[in-house]
């Protein structure tokens, strides 16, 4: 099973190439506000996470996933459910 710390570390790796503003990435960093990502970039990023862990993150969940920490929680939760 993949723990949250591992998930968080991998999410940071996935985000880094898209972090064009070179902002410091923390649990509280937000995609739209801090990183100034547009909605298409965020949707592509989510797709890459789905493929990384073979999970499904429906687009209708995105409004509640504003920060890196929230995404890490969501992915870790989905992986736990998957078992």
């Amino acid at each position: 099973m993949t723990d949250r710390a591992t998930v968080y570390a991998r999410i940071i790796e996935l985000i880094e190439p898209l972090n064009t503003k070179k902002v410091a990435l923390t649990e509280a960093t937000s995609f739209a506000g801090d990183m100034e990502m547009d909605s298409l970039t965020v949707m592509d990023l989510v797709a890459s996470m789905e493929d990384e862990w073979d999970i499904m993150i429906p687009l209708n969940l995105l409004p509640d996933l504003e920060t890196i920490g929230q995404v890490a929680d969501a992915v870790a939760g989905l992986l736990a459910k998957k078992g």
């Binding site: 298409l40 797709a47 493929d51 999970i55 687009l59 209708n60």
Partner: protein, 409 residues
């Protein structure tokens, strides 16, 4: 007691206001503020006093000035009045609306048809009504805003797959619970790049996972397939498509939208589809024009052939002059020119309008993958002479805008 200060709800648009002002401060015309002073024909208008060739109107079959279409509207205006002032399910269904739905059934060879007040509402209504809580909508990443908005309005879970990528669709379908209801939403022609979907492969994958399929043929109706029904007809997947959505504002030449289907329970949608129920129906003149246009499009074989001919001439001509195009061959009646950045796109667009050629400027987030485009849509009534003028003006504008052209192989 004093009131607290009012928070300006438009403040969130300040960055966009600044960007737009910055664009205009370079002295170019506003790409999103064109006013047509006179419309001379489906291919020509007067803009700022200048005679302009229209190459960005989606008026594919040139039906807007068809004499029979105009006469049908004139008659309906006289017989039924200016508007219906009501919903289709209350006082807003006239004989004209019933006749239009009959024409749609005939055109598509399907047993049910529903006419909406706009194409946007047709997608909004169908997508949001078909899929509910616990269901899944699986849509192409490059889907039109009306499909995305329909997803938002539904209570379904939304899954997006990579544009036209069959393997990616399959991978995502496999992750869904087998017992859940699924709607796969596709478009025949994608309007930004003008590329066509590989429907047989996509539809087969959707069916293999128990999904219903909706295909939007907004940019394919009138000139794809034997009967002009769209890409789904041309590619031979009619039997596996559950719902076809379309619009009157492109080939038909008016305004309005529709959905056609053979589903036996289709008619109930009139009572549950909110963008159909809670809005006024189309004015009698508009729906009568649409009916006549649809009936004429059924047999418009010469016009279809001419549209493809003019499209090949424009696509080939631009390619030969070194413009980079979004599709290697002309896949639809949309020819998109790839541009390097916002400034060059705006300057090139502005130069073209000064030279008397109107095209669409498209930019992110309306475009996929952050590309900037000058988008041309061709009309069956464009003459070879007009296309040649357009080609010359594109070359001239590229020089003036210092757009680098590529060596022709």
């Amino acid at each position: 007691m004093t009131n607290p200060p009012v928070l300006d709800l438009l403040a969130k648009y300040d960055p966009l206001i600044a960007e737009h002002a910055g664009l205009l401060s370079t002295g170019i015309r506003d790409p999103f503020g064109i006013v047509m002073e006179k419309v001379l024909s489906p291919t020509e208008a007067i803009i700022k006093g200048r005679h302009t060739i229209l190459l960005g109107t989606y008026n594919y079959m040139g039906m807007t000035f068809d004499a029979d279409v105009i006469e049908a509207g004139r008659q309906a205006l006289t017989d039924f009045g200016a508007g219906t002032t009501g919903s289709r399910v209350l006082n807003g269904t006239y004989q004209t609306h019933a006749a239009c739905e009959e024409a749609l059934k005939g055109f598509y060879g399907m047993s049910h048809a529903m006419a909406f007040s706009t194409g946007y509402q047709a997608n909004l209504g169908m997508v949001s009504t078909l899929a509910g809580k616990g269901d899944f909508i699986i849509l192409d990443a490059d889907s039109h805003a009306s499909i995305y908005d329909g997803c938002k309005m539904s209570n379904a879970d939304i899954v997006r797959f990579r544009h036209n990528d069959v393997a990616d669709l399959e991978k995502r379908l496999k992750r869904l619970p087998p017992e859940a209801g699924k709607l796969v939403v596709l478009e025949g022609v994608y309007s930004m790049l003008g590329d066509v979907a590989p429907l047989p492969e996509l539809v087969a994958v959707a069916k293999a996972h128990g999904a219903m399929v909706l295909v939007d043929e907004a940019h394919g109706m009138g000139f794809f397939g034997e009967h002009g029904r769209g890409v789904y007809e041309e590619q031979g997947v009619a039997d596996d498509v559950d719902f076809v959505v379309g619009t009157f504002s492109k080939s038909v030449g008016t305004v309005g939208g529709f959905c056609v289907s053979n589903h036996p329970k289709f008619e109930i949608l009139r009572l549950v589809c909110r963008p159909y129920t809670f809005t006024a129906s189309l004015p009698p003149a508009v729906i009568a024009c649409s009916t006549t246009s649809i009936r004429k499009l059924m047999t418009a074989h010469d016009k279809r052939a001419r549209l493809w001919e003019a499209t090949r001439r424009l696509h080939g001509g631009l390619k030969a002059r070194g413009f980079r195009l979004a599709t290697d061959t002309p896949e639809s009646a949309i020819v998109s020119v790839l541009m390097p950045d916002q400034e060059t796109t705006a300057l090139m667009w502005s130069t073209l309008i000064e030279l008397g050629v109107y095209v669409n400027m498209s930019r992110p987030p309306a475009t996929p993958a952050g590309v900037f485009l000058l988008r041309c849509s061709i009309c069956a009534l464009h003459s070879d002479e007009q296309i040649d003028i357009v080609l010359a003006k594109f070359e001239q504008a590229a020089q003036m805008a210092q757009l680098a052209l590529h060596e022709h192989a």
